[in-house]
Subunit: 210 residues, 2 copies
DNA sequence: GCGAACTTACTGTTCATTCAGTTAGTTGTC
DNA sequence: GACAACTAACTGAATGAACAGTAAGTTCGC
């Protein structure tokens, strides 16, 4: 199997190099954006030569797409089971708050851990999603869970989904400007906990009064 | 006064040229971002030669700052009176919903009319606000109004302010990706009206149960 | 006619991509 | 199990395109 770890580390290993390049590219693309992240800097950070990223990925554009693709796969892998658990919890117990806590807590944790996803999705949104194919533009799993937990009671479900994603996404997206100006840091434990509580409060109250 | 319109249009008018350059730059910076918006394209769109933007503004960076500055001045000019009216309405009548309707409706209208501001603030946020000086990173007027309308009742006022801005900002920021995937368009009359109603509902319910 | 507005051709830099060459790893042969 | 033959990983210098900035020159408004 190709992903099995060899006991003697090879000096040449395409999988390892690919991974290092993807890691470096993810960091620099999310931090500086497509144009200001250069292939030489990505190579330097990955510890490979300037030609290797193009050799493996066929160009800067394809490398960027590969970074996005990997993140989206990871997102679905993390959020689908989470959303399913939250919905099942709600449907079996009928306790809305507990289900929302499960969902929102997991969602916020994921965004905080993989900030690169938030930043790259933000950049994609501003660029018209030109690198995103037909793939899901935000987690379908979270949207689906919210719809199920809301039930048929509330009027416009789309508005509710937008609101949920907005409430969780926004602080991370605008952490360096708006939150910094308020003396807050979305990446801190304290803020994340407070944010989760607030978002659950908001959603519970909105859903509570159908 | 320099802004008075001369009855015979001059072929050379620094104010007019500056304005045309700022308009073109605002459009292209907000649409494509700092790096992909080129000075030659800005010049072409403004109907001037490639050297003029640098002649007037001293370089691409300063031009970008000038665009941001003009937008921020406009934002304060629009939102300060609005916020003041909303707060006064609330403090004289005690009717929270009417005050929120005034504030949110005006805020959403402004964001929709000046989408360039939303997009540029989004870009700035992702770039660490490197072009933003010490100036306000989001409307201080709206934040202040929300705090006043909320009263001392609700716990964490910062969370409420973040939530308010997030709810209004997010659909415009992610219009090309998330909303497009939902078949919605934040720029349409219908959506804007529905969004306003939803945001006011949310805020009213959150504030209602202090 | 003088100064500000404006143009145009040019310069230097940055960067993605290419490619000829080098070396590590693998496979087959005896 | 050693050695040759081969493949794939990897390098780094060269190339050319794109672009911001410059400056010498031209034209307009007063």
């Amino acid at each position: 199997m190709s992903s099995a770890a060899p006991r003697t580390p090879r000096r040449r290993d395409a999988d390892v190099s690919r991974g290092a390049i993807l890691d470096a590219a993810e960091h620099l693309f999310s931090q500086f954006g497509y144009e200001r992240a250069t292939l030489s800097e990505i190579s330097r950070l990955a510890g490979v030569s300037t030609g290797l990223p193009t050799y493996f990925f066929g160009g800067k554009d394809n490398l960027y797409r590969a970074v996005l693709g990997r993140l989206i796969v990871e997102r679905e892998a993390r959020l689908e089971p989470l959303a399913e658990r939250a919905v099942r919890s709600f449907e079996s117990t009928g306790e809305r708050r507990a289900a929302l806590e499960l969902l929102i807590s997991g969602y916020v944790d994921f965004l905080r851990e993989r900030l690169a996803l938030v930043r790259l999705m933000g950049r994609e949104a501003l660029d018209g999603g030109r690198h995103l194919g037909a793939g899901p533009r935000h987690s379908a799993a979270v949207a689906d869970a919210i719809e199920r937990i809301a039930g048929t009671s509330s009027g416009d479900v789309d508005q509710l989904v937008i609101t949920t994603v907005a409430l969780c996404f926004f602080p991370f997206e605008h952490n360096d400007t708006m939150l910094a100006a308020m003396g807050r840091d979305a990446m801190s434990e304290d803020f994340a906990a407070a944010r989760k509580r607030h978002v659950v409060d908001v959603l519970e109250r909105v859903l509570g009064a159908g």
